[in-house]
């Protein structure tokens, strides 16, 4: 330690920053081993010296995460619409992932220090947490992770697109290693959640969804995300292990909730029969999602047929209901099931959907050559537009009146040709 330089720096006024804690000799740290005392069941995998520390748990059948089971048939294929792949992917080929970092900033000085991994086997759902016990040997940590990642074709994360994967990629790059992690098949549950629940819930944050959808509440051991970086830093600087269990718990619950949400959404998409209790907004979201993913149409159609029959069951007073019926109609139409399509659109029209009126008008005109009713639907649409409060949508009005004029012209011509 260059005492003279240190004194010089003090004189130059650059000894600002953190007051020194601990002993001066301590700072060139040897690898701390006290983490074992915090986690007696954890391990230092061989060949990685003490740079990597891991902790495992398994959740067998019967475990409930809140009110949600994490059980699934591991060999069964996942919902086909999740990933673009020629062959089907089974649940055992998924790796769930969530990282904790030494800073909330995405800069190159941010370390990934804890990676929570989750996967299924016939024994149940496993969590495997990988901890960077010695930043000096980040290469070992990354090698260990790389090995794990290579064994699973598909990654599942919550907001991994924007955070977890880029930051892992960054750690590889900073250490001079090429990484293809950004190109791997990846399911981002946050993206799914946003599409499904944008209208249903005020927030799509994991903590919120965990409570609302899965019914899970974290224990007092939990450490909030903003405190996590500090705890790791203090562990390394001073060997402070008191709050590490909280950090590991936080990370583990993230992995469990991630799996829970994944299963929940997958289940919904696989089983439109179960949509009965859902709100119109949610069903609408699911419809859109299925459409986007070209999922299994049969079940969907079956559900929509059922929905038509049990009309009273669907909320018809939420704003999303109209969208729901409109979309349902379009799905029926695309599958050439016209009577159902019309039935849906009529319901949507009753809920004042201008687009539904238009669909009906078009259908009347093109499929039935029924200009009278086509016109009637346009008039209906105009009436709805008129009655709408709020700013005046000139564009819509123009379009509707042009359509009206066109129909009238056509009717006139037809009368003429009929007359002659």
């Amino acid at each position: 330690m260059d005492e003279e330089l240190l004194k010089r720096f003090e004189a130059l006024g650059i000894h600002r920053g953190f007051p020194l804690k601990g002993n001066a000799e301590n700072h060139t740290c040897r690898i701390t081993q006290s983490i074992e005392t915090a986690f007696p069941t954890g391990k230092f995998p061989e060949e990685y010296l003490h740079s990597v520390f891991t902790l495992d748990h398994v959740y067998r059948s019967g475990y409930l995460h809140g009110k949600t089971s994490l059980e699934t048939n591991p060999e069964a294929p996942i919902y086909a619409g999740f990933v673009n792949s020629e062959s089907s992917i089974s649940h055992t080929q998924l790796l769930f992932l969530d990282v904790e970092t030494s800073s909330l900033s995405p800069g190159s000085g941010t370390l990934v220090f804890l990676v929570g991994l989750g996967y299924w086997t016939s024994a149940g759902y496993h969590t495997h947490q990988v901890f960077l016990n010695e930043p000096g040997d980040e290469l070992s940590f990354l090698a260990y992770l790389d090995d794990w990642l290579s064994r699973y074709p598909v990654l599942v994360t919550f907001n991994g697109q924007a955070f977890d994967l880029p930051i892992l990629n960054q750690r590889f790059l900073v250490n001079g290693i090429r990484s293809e992690i950004l190109k791997r098949p990846h399911i981002d549950v946050l993206t799914l959640a946003r599409r499904l629940w944008r209208k249903r819930y005020p927030s799509r944050r994991l903590a919120f969804l965990e409570q609302e959808v899965l019914g899970f509440t974290r224990s007092e051991v939990e450490i909030p995300s903003w405190m996590v970086p500090e705890i790791y830093v203090q562990y390394l600087r001073q060997g402070e292990i008191q709050y590490l269990p909280g950090v590991f718990y936080h990370n583990e619950m993230d992995i469990l909730s991630l799996a829970g949400l994944f299963l929940y959404i997958e289940n919904l998409l696989n089983n439109p029969r179960t949509w009965n209790g859902l709100s119109a907004g949610e069903i609408y979201g699911l419809l859109i999602e299925m459409e986007r993913q070209n999922g299994n149409i049969e079940n969907l159609i079956a559900f929509l047929n059922a929905m038509l029959e049990n009309f009273e069951g669907q909320q018809s007073d939420t704003p999303e209901s109209a969208h729901l019926w409109l979309t349902a109609g379009r799905i029926f139409k695309r599958n050439e099931m016209y009577s159902q399509a019309l039935a849906c659109w009529e319901k949507a029209a009753q809920m004042d959907s201008i687009d539904a009126c238009l669909e009906l008008s078009r259908y009347c005109e093109r499929n039935r050559h029924d200009l009278v009713n086509a016109l009637a639907w346009v008039d209906r649409a105009i009436k709805i537009l008129d009655a709408q409060p709020g700013p005046f949508h000139k564009g819509h009005f123009t379009m509707l009146s042009q359509r009206r004029l066109r129909l009238l012209t056509l009717m006139g011509k037809r009368r003429q040709s009929n007359a002659t």
């Binding site: 330690m1 260059d2 330089l5 240190l6 010089r8 720096f9 004189a11 130059l12 006024g13 650059i14 000894h15 920053g17 953190f18 020194l20 804690k21 001066a24 700072h27 060139t28 740290c29 040897r30 690898i31 030494s102 800073s103 909330l104 900033s105 995405p106 800069g107 190159s108 000085g109 370390l111 010695e134 930043p135 000096g136 040997d137 980040e138 880029p166 990629n169 960054q170 790059l173 900073v174 250490n175 001079g176 970086p229 500090e230 830093v233 390394l236 600087r237």
Partner: protein, 850 residues
């Protein structure tokens, strides 16, 4: 404007009584025809066609040399005058590479956003001229981007992902690219060229920071496998090769034969005539310059007027407009204006709709404004390089132009007026920077370790592991880094980059908070060193014309609180600087004393401050302060006189200086004083024994306007002859050194490329540096030192020579602003004393070399 018209104007001035006295020197710099050569055959057809479409059918020699040098893969530095087509020297090689290998990238660093924008426009124009389809051209244009503080987040994202040619500035490289380099991987992995335009700007602290920024850039580029070539351009300076090599730490090819044409230029050196010969005061330089500018304006001569402060620019414009309010085409230009306003003014200059523009050095740099017909400089800009840059603005293609220097009354300007050869014949100054300044290096190593961990054995630029490891150890001790397994890794939640100001001082700026009503608001900022004497507790501080009093100053947290106030006084801090430790690196002994340079530890105490009335500057009150001192560890130059010389000089001086007549009441006052003091020496306590003791004027007699005032009892003190002599000698020396200090400090810029404020100076009548001998000290006012004062050691003879010349030729009696400082009150008088000291120093050869 035709030369005859210019000459005609000059003749009127020469015969005009108002101006003729002031024109001290004139010279015509003859036009130089350009030497252009046909486009070399190695330039590919696509580029050739574009050049010809832009009207460029030939290239100057420096452009051709640059092309050839770049083709052979060398780093290069091109020095040439303003408007000589320097930018084409780097554009051609880069465009060639990029068009040939589309995933090539290039990083352009400009010192200002305006320059970046200017070159961006050029690239767009050039691409338009290429013989490609419209779609191809569109697609290429999209790959060029500017990246600066004004870029929106989506623009920045696009730049990261798709830009190939990126035009930016050092700050963005520091804050926005390097700390997030993995996001720039695609750009960095293919980085082939880094362009540093106007590199002569990178001197002093800014240059030292930039050199380290380059070290960091090279390190990160290497991480992605890139090893870019550096292409630098610069205006004329004394050491272009040295500058380039210091900045990029690699062998570099220098291209300096500038064969662009230069217009004929008529240069005038003007000094406002003396108003009071004795006091040495002159008519105000700005007023004189405005009057000359008015004449030029009336004759429809497009003129640029350079001033040295933003405030000055605003005031000049306002004053000019007061006399002629409805004039169009008269503008001001400086940083702080909106970019679109600046573009508009630049365009107006190019199109000649703006006839008269008052500007700061913002227009010194190469922004394209065409050329103007006349340039007026108010005050010497401090260096030959800057002088040439400014003059370089005058002269449209083939048209003669006028350059006019209006000198203010400070010693430097007056020296230049009397020695035009300094500017015209001497080589331009050498740029000085110190990338290994410990404070700067520390800051950049901190950032570099954030960017990528350091491995044992790694070098940093040209610094070996052994040189940088101590810094990394300190960083580890402070907790920012973790040191283990031969690596140093960043371990902190924060990012260090924001703590550094690339252009400012080593310390964070002090935020000035206005404590008014409920919520405090930010009034402004001030740099750390100035804070000490401008916003000390109790100080009266002016900001944009409003008056505030400083309630508190907290240097630790970098804050000061101010409240608006009405006061009938302003404040003047009482500062005392002392040397607390030192280490001489070089010294020379002479028969008169010693000249030396080395490390200095200085402590400045703020003892208190004086309250002076606005009206007549009298001292209303003096307030003491107990404030923690300011420590500065830096490098400096000092000169001390030995005891024998002091005695000899002082005795000589006193003998020749002693007035015989102390006025009519002298005898009487003398008696009264001796009686009051009980006929005892007030210094050593000896009693009169036989002959009468002396009575000494505390404040020298000649400082007073009347003998009654001078001889008041409070001003008299009884001393024995020996003590009297000793005291008089001390006063003599102090006056002399004080005067000399003032003059030398101003003249330092003639010999070292720095501004007045880059140096500090003080005298110590009994200094640690020299076994308690009187000493004159100059130091770099930047923590850690930048190398200025060291340069002074090497050049002190010329420096002192110039000072002697100024003193002996100055017509004032007791001192004036143009030599040793205004007479009495602030200045010490002391002109004769300073002259004698200089004579002693200069007449003697060095006795030994240390």
């Amino acid at each position: 404007m035709p030369i005859s018209k210019l000459h005609a104007l000059l003749e009127t001035w020469l015969s005009h009584p108002r101006y003729s006295e002031g024109i001290r020197f004139r010279v015509t710099l003859p036009a130089q025809p350009g030497h252009a050569h046909p486009l070399p055959p190695t330039i590919p057809n696509t580029l050739r066609q574009a050049l010809e479409k832009l009207g460029i059918h030939n290239l100057y020699l420096h452009q051709i040399s640059a092309w050839q040098s770049a083709l052979s893969g060398e780093h290069m530095m091109i020095t040439a005058g303003v408007g000589s087509g320097k930018s084409l020297c780097y554009h051609l090689p880069v465009l060639h590479s990029w068009l040939e290998t589309p995933d090539t990238t290039a990083l352009y660093l400009f010192p200002t956003k305006a320059l970046a924008y200017d070159q961006y426009q050029f690239l767009q124009t050039f691409l338009d001229a290429l013989p490609f389809s419209i779609t191809e051209k569109q697609s290429l244009k999209k790959q060029i981007a500017t990246y600066d503080g004004d870029s929106t987040p989506s623009q920045r994202k696009r730049s990261r992902e798709t830009a190939r040619l990126l035009l930016t500035n050092p700050e963005m490289l520091h804050y926005g690219i390097l700390p997030y380099h993995p996001y720039w991987r695609e750009f960095l992995a293919h980085l082939k060229y880094v362009i540093l335009d106007e590199a002569h700007i990178y001197r002093g602290a800014f240059g030292s920071h930039l050199a380290n920024l380059i070290r960091r850039l090279k390190r990160i580029a290497a991480l992605y496998g890139a090893s870019p070539r550096f292409l630098l351009t610069s205006g004329t300076i004394g050491n272009p090769l040295e500058l380039a090599q210091t900045l990029i730490e690699a062998p570099i090819t220098l291209i300096h034969r500038d064969t662009a044409p230069k217009s004929e230029r008529l240069l005038l050196f003007y000094t406002p005539p003396l108003e009071d010969k004795v006091a040495g005061t002159r008519r105000d330089a700005t007023a004189e310059a405005l009057s000359l500018a008015q004449e030029l304006f009336d004759h429809n001569v497009q003129t640029l007027v350079f001033l040295d402060s933003r405030q000055g620019v605003e005031t000049a414009l306002r004053t000019f407009r007061e006399s002629l309010p409805t004039l169009e085409g008269v503008e001001a230009y400086r940083s702080g204006y909106l970019p679109q306003d600046r573009r508009w003014i630049e365009q107006g200059l190019r199109e000649q709709t703006n006839r008269l523009v008052f500007t700061t050095n913002a227009l010194e740099l190469g922004i394209n404004i065409g050329g103007v017909d006349a340039v007026i400089m108010i005050g010497y800009p401090g260096s030959v390089a800057a002088f040439n840059q400014r003059i370089g603005r005058a002269g449209r293609k083939g048209q003669p132009a006028l350059g006019l220097l209006v000198a203010s009354d400070n010693p430097l300007d007056q020296y230049i007026i009397s020695h035009p050869d300094h500017v015209l014949e001497r080589p331009p100054e050498k740029v000085i920077l110190n990338p290994d300044n410990p404070v700067i290096l520390y800051q950049h190593l901190k950032c570099a370790s954030y960017e990528k961990p350091f491995e044992e054995g790694e070098s940093f630029g040209a610094l070996s592991w052994e040189a940088i490891e101590p810094y990394l150890d300190v960083l580890a001790l402070q907790g920012c880094l973790r040191s283990s397994l031969n690596r140093f890794i960043w371990l902190d939640k924060t990012q260090p980059h924001r703590e550094i100001s690339l252009r400012g001082s080593a310390h964070p700026t002090i935020k000035l908070h206005l404590q008014a009503a409920s919520t405090p608001s930010l009034l402004g900022e001030i740099d750390y060193e100035s804070a000490y004497w401008m916003v000390h507790p109790g100080a009266i501080y002016l900001h944009r014309g409003d008056v505030y009093r400083v309630e508190a100053l907290d240097l630790e947290s970098s804050q000061a609180s101010l409240i608006p106030t009405h006061s009938d006084y302003y404040t003047e801090p009482l500062l005392e600087t002392q040397v607390t430790a030192y280490k001489a690196w070089k010294s020379q002994d002479f028969s008169w004393g010693t000249s030396a340079c080395g490390e200095l530890h200085l402590t400045t105490w703020l003892k208190g401050f004086k309250k002076r009335s606005w009206d007549d500057h009298t001292v209303l009150e003096q307030v003491s302060l107990d404030f923690p001192p300011l420590n500065l560890e830096t490098t400096g130059y000092w000169l001390s006189l030995n005891a024998r010389t002091v005695k000899r000089l002082a005795d000589q001086g006193l003998w020749s200086n002693s007035p015989n007549n102390y006025g009519p009441n002298w005898e009487q006052q003398r008696q009264l004083a001796r009686a009051r003091d009980h006929y005892t020496c007030q210094q050593c306590g000896a009693r009169e024994n036989g002959s009468a003791f002396h009575v000494h004027h505390r404040i020298p007699f000649r400082r007073f306007s009347s003998s009654e005032e001078a001889n008041r009892l409070e001003n008299l003190i009884t001393l024995c002859p020996r003590c009297h002599r000793r005291l008089e000698r001390a006063v003599w020396i102090r006056s002399g050194l004080s005067a000399l200090r003032h003059l030398l400090h101003h003249l330092a810029s003639l010999f070292v490329f720095c501004d007045y404020h880059d140096l500090g100076s003080f005298i110590e009548p009994r200094s640690k540096l020299s076994h308690n001998q009187p000493t004159l000290v100059f130091y770099d006012s930047f923590q850690g030192g930048l190398g200025y004062a060291l340069e002074l050691f090497d050049r002190y003879v010329d420096w002192f020579d110039s000072a002697y010349e100024v003193i002996t030729h100055c017509a004032c009696q007791n001192g004036c602003p143009s030599c040793i400082g205004p007479a009495p009150e602030q200045g010490s008088g002391g002109k004769e004393e300073a002259k004698a000291i200089l004579r002693a120093i200069l007449e003697v050869q060095p006795a030994s070399y240390g």
